[in-house]
Symmetry: C2
């Protein structure tokens, strides 16, 4: 009697790619580009490492695929949040939506790791392009002044740091950390009010 060999249906290359990207995002978010091994990603995806390379070519291509996926998620979130909202409330709505998006810390951490990986020219090119795309999108949807958009992104950036440092873990003992988390709670509260139908 040899190994049980459960009859697992094969998946299409496209399905596999999506699975792998989902898993790789988690790994890259935690370990960064250089701190993540394709071997670990393949193992968790339940495939051999050579097959991963067949599907993506190089580790860098895998990273870029993850980056595109994250970009799409954020872009989609912004567009959805702005949909049907009066122009002057768009920035606020997008801010709230971004915070929701960040509930899974991976989104945040991956962003951070993308910036950190920018010494690689190809990665930098992609990150620049996506970032620029978001900046233009936010400006267009909100009609806000450049400096408002700038402030919007500065806040987002600080949220990323908040997540990297996992400040919520020390907010009960460090006053400043609690203070750092407050803007986040504020926006959520404002959003809650909106969800309840008020104003």
């Amino acid at each position: 009697m040899s190994a049980p060999r459960v009859a697992t249906r094969r998946k299409s290359a496209e399905e596999r790619r999506e699975e792998i990207v989902r898993i790789a995002i988690e790994h890259f978010a935690a370990g960064g580009y250089n701190g993540t091994s394709t071997e670990a990603v393949a193992r968790e995806a339940g495939i051999s490492q050579p097959y991963l390379f067949r599907l993506f070519g190089t580790k860098r291509e895998l990273f870029l695929a993850c980056h595109r996926e994250m970009h799409e998620r954020i872009r989609g979130t912004f567009e959805a949040a702005a949909h049907g909202v009066p122009r002057e409330d768009v920035l606020q709505a997008m801010g709230g939506a971004y915070i929701d998006l960040l509930e899974d810390r991976d989104t945040l951490l991956f962003q951070m790791q993308s910036y950190a990986a920018c010494s690689d020219p190809e990665i930098r090119a992609s990150v620049r392009a996506c970032y620029g795309d978001l900046v233009k999108l936010v400006g267009r949807l909100s009609g806000a002044e450049p400096h408002e958009v700038w402030t919007f992104f500065a806040r987002g950036m600080l949220l990323n740091v908040t997540a990297s440092l996992d400040l919520s873990a020390i907010a009960d003992t460090e006053e400043w950390a609690a203070c750092w988390l407050e803007p986040l709670a504020l926006i959520q509260r404002a959003q809650g009010v909106r969800d309840d139908g008020a104003v």
Copy 2:
């Protein structure tokens, strides 16, 4: 006749450590924690790699030494900038000083890499502690409200991203990138005015 053997004076362990830290900061800034090899740092420092390990014990300890050094630099810059300045101008003065500090991009990039390396618990602990220290310092020296301090750091954070993406390299073709660099120029200009003796 064998190799010329230039009579190089030996340096004290302390001197070596300082040299190595200086060089390692550049490497970590570009490659991040995982993307930097102790071998490369040792080579550039002109010593053997085992000796580097004798001086620092582990790669992580080397990184932490670099991080402490960067923290001291920033802290010193803030304190110097605030010295003798009326309280209500302290935030502005520190902002300008920070920008000066960032003229060498390594300072910025190293910060970014520190956040990215925070999945390591020991590094995270150190980064948290130093960051908290700066937040408290800024609050104390400026007497500003927490939300002002928060905004101050948010701006700093966005500067870090600006440096990572090297936006100045595309500012001439991408309008938004130029716009992103403007706040930076603004603060410098304000500072220039101050230096000229006016107001």
